[in-house]
Assembly symmetry: D2
Homo-oligomer: 333 residues x 4
């Protein structure tokens, strides 16, 4: 960490700051320039509150040189994390496809989709029971009933399930859920993240619409700081000025997150574009970029889905995507 | 609302869609073009789920012509809403300044700041007890103790208080709080918004870092849909590519929100720039743009504040800002 | 095109507007609603100036339903355009890799790189002679000498060359250049685009840092409106809030541009991330997403390159990337 | 400037880099840490090409501590620059309003508007003769004829004129123009900026749609590096995700630019929102934030303006805005 001091800082102030920093277990190097003096801090700076330092009258700016995340940092955990979920593995050499409808709608719908995506080769069943919607007047999901239907489909097909949580008070309903998803809008709902750090179930953490990779990793850190190391990162598109697509899938996030962190990285190509016919090229591109998994929306009747139908594939289209993805994966590994 | 149909839509599909829409109480006008057919929907379209329509195979795009928010919409409530808080009014012709530290730190700190900003003319005391921080390792506030200290300062000075909530389970602690603040990162924490719709206390709703004004108004709508009409909107800066300032204060939001909605609009110039010396010009500009109030950070020792000191004013600086703001307000009203 | 009229529009105003629009050769359908009246315009609306209509007192908003670009539009040219350059083809089934240094620096440098990328399989040699730099104090390229060195390398290797133009007055120097590149910062330098519409040489048009795909296609339209149909579109990364990477490569632009337009689409994975080790995964992802070509920076001594060395590959790394890219291309075609 | 070296840098590499840097006239301080070694560079670092340093294999990152702009930097020119234009002054304590139509359309139009804004108190006449338009099919201005009409209006009213240039080859037409405007889309048209550095006329440089303040100042630096110190900076709105307004006026740019630079800063509130009824509040806010001037669109018949009518005021509305602005200016100075 580098602390740039103002020209007005007095010798006494500087000595007192250095003493305080050394008291935090850091080694401090000082360099004096014409306009600035700067302090190089060596040691574990992840515990240092940057805004606190910046608040000091004598400080001009503070620049981190090492990352503020620690548990998620590859520097301290060089090997890929491999996360187990219902007998399956994800991360490292293990690649998994999660598929299913945006919203769980009925027993027939979820079971029929589960059976068909399972037959195509998907390993994990996704489906929304709690749906975050911008408008209070839009369909919000079947809630507890939706989770029941997912669990029934899990029993029938043997597929582990992943579904989104919006409120830590709902955790008891998620006891049989295999992976708990945190949606993009809750990526910085720190109270929810802290509660999910208290359990030991895998958490699929989606990147917020306008959040940086560092912020995503700091949110992973919130969960890991509680002791839950089973975090899967998910790129699902960011907000940009482009409006032909709903969001812009940031595929450079995949190699970048894999370099910065040991956690598995999956990609959701369905929400990013909001357009079903872009799912296939973007799914293939995600795999070529090195994703550990994909999360894809499939609906047996996308034209009449209650939610996000525009971005869902039919089971037949999904089968085709799965085959293409497998060919790309073979080409790149 | 306008529904653009694909060239491939058949007559039967179109008839069936029109019948369904008419069943929702809407009047439907049809226009046929060379490439597209479009349906004009007349009536209350706020209850129509756009993504549901977009999911239909025959639909190309759906465009809203009227706003999707209803309770917050000035069209249906032409007069300014005036919100009462602890004997004060905010909204319409009533202008109020909220001031206080970013975080409550000690009994002496909060009382001393409260007395000084009150003497300068501030009407409402702000102070954070629960602090959302990007890093789990940064200072997170005094929690229940912080609220106790705010209440003690309220008792001593008579000032109503405003403080942030991060978790609906904490609501019992907020019983004596006059205005409950929802922070930028929780603007789309819909579960929290729904709970705040159940109470009748004023809610100060901050705009998210990358959210549009329509999304802000839809979040207000979540609270109002529960019956709580006491919502104060707050512009506090949005994320842009500029990095000399932490965020970019969007002052055009003030006249635009006042045109779209009847709710009061206040501006927080402290968080937007993150730089204390920008607070004065931006506070004056906010008032010139028509803000109903300001929220300003003041700290008796900004250089040593535990949180966000870089953007806090000293009580003396605040006194100067308050005087300047009053002169601008007199010039524009 | 849809024109939404204000409630205050009088019958006479509406009649007069309709008459004017019909005079432009358009068919006009009218729908009246409770709050708005709207006019559906059918016919060739690409010649209608939207801001002119929006300026009318009676008009609330104008929404285009069809795209404002015509020559670049796939609707009117369903088949892929195939562009010929020095005996090679690009577009449709033809895939080409352009490689070379960011800046041309010396005869030895450019020739050595040309020979090595040619041996790896690259078809076209790239190299900058005019370099747009944010700072007037940074290295700006060898100018005419740089073009001479490129032409010499072309003579020796037989590779066609692509290089950037910054000023239409320089066109005489580009007479032997095979593809003229327009850089991201000049994407909306309309005076330059108009001049390039007057010639018949292929133009590689890079997307601006914060421009939409529609704006990119409108800039292509500027060139095509002059009669030069040899336009190659290039995605090279857009500005986002992410700062681990310099820009964010928008790979969904590839299938989206291919859907909207018949022009070839190539991807530059080097400038987007600014990081050499991301070039390989992003090049593979670009091919998986359907790119018609790649533009990759290669430098024989990236650590000492005069410009943008951080994002350049060594010839050995490029050879490896080329092999991987070929495998992905085989998997997806 | 701070150079962070990789752990892999050898002693010999470091010695050789230090020797090279010292050869550039810099003083180098070295600090060694557990993960990084860093070099603090003291002296005139504005001439150092950051990407060149970052390209070195041993370098991890380079961080500037001082600004890369020099001529525009307030540190080296503490006093406000005051720019003279046709007998008027702008900058420091001198405040000026520029007003006129978006496009010059006819002799009657420009003269009538000039007389009316002059009567209201505007000092400088604006009007577009060359119009940058996204579509090649939209109205592009009257070109040389437009400039003739502006000069005629100048003769009749005595007002200096400001108008936009798009091509350095047009400079001879601008000989009688008082202030030459560079539009947002040409802010990084470095070839044009260099030519404008060769003349001595005041240049009004508009900030690009997605450019940072530092990039704006670097573009000013391009002009100043040629010897033309008469640069006026103009904030005109940046691209954000908000779509109720066309762009977002960044008023914090005003105090920030005034702190970073000695150049005058004016604000264009008309283009930013694209909505005439927002011009008044935003003009007042700009003045409250400390702007040295305003540029406002006025049209005698905005409903029928050929270009950008939606954002133009009538002369009567402008008169009202001018009075309000004067009151705010009196309150803040």
């Amino acid at each position: 960490m580098l602390v740039v001091l103002k020209p007005s800082a007095t010798k006494e102030q500087i000595q007192s700051l250095i003493a305080w920093l050394e008291g935090q277990g850091l080694i401090v190097h000082i360099s004096r320039g014409e306009f600035y003096t700067f302090l190089g801090l060596i040691g574990d700076t992840s515990q240092i509150d940057v805004t606190l330092l910046e608040g000091l009258a004598m400080v001009d700016t503070v620049k981190r040189l090492s990352e503020p995340f620690k548990s998620a940092n590859r520097k301290f955990h060089p090997d890929d994390s491999i996360i187990e979920v219902g007998g399956l593995k994800i991360g490292g050499p293990h690649f998994q496809v999660m598929a299913g409808p945006c919203s769980v709608e009925s027993p027939e719908q979820i079971l029929s989709i589960a059976q068909s995506v399972c037959a195509s080769g998907a390993a994990i069943l996704r489906g929304g029971a709690f749906k975050p919607r911008t408008s209070p007047y839009d369909f919000q999901g079947l809630h507890a009933d939706g989770i029941e239907l997912l669990l029934e489909a899990k029993k029938q097909t043997g597929m582990p399930i992943v579904t989104e949580i919006m409120n830590a008070n709902h955790l008891p309903m998620f006891e049989q859920v295999d992976i708990i998803q945190v949606g993009a809008r809750n990526m910085q709902n720190f109270e929810l993240l802290k509660e999910l750090g208290m359990i030991r179930k895998p958490i699929l953490l989606k990147r917020g619409l306008a959040n940086t990779l560092q912020e995503l990793l700091m949110s992973a850190e919130y969960i890991m700081a509680g002791g839950n190391y089973n975090v899967i990162l998910c790129e699902r598109g960011i907000r940009t000025f482009e409006n032909y697509t709903r969001n812009t899938l940031d595929l450079s996030a995949v190699p970048m997150l894999r370099e910065l962190s040991h956690l598995p990285v999956v990609v959701d190509p369905s929400h990013a574009s909001g357009i079903a016919r872009l799912v296939q090229p973007m799914a293939m591109a995600a795999v070529a970029a090195g994703a550990h998994g994909l999360m894809i929306e499939v609906h047996n009747d996308p034209a009449n889905a209650l939610c996000d139908g525009a971005q869902s594939l039919t089971p037949e289209q999904f089968d085709e995507v799965f085959k293409k993805v497998r060919r790309v994966r073979e080409a790149v590994t």
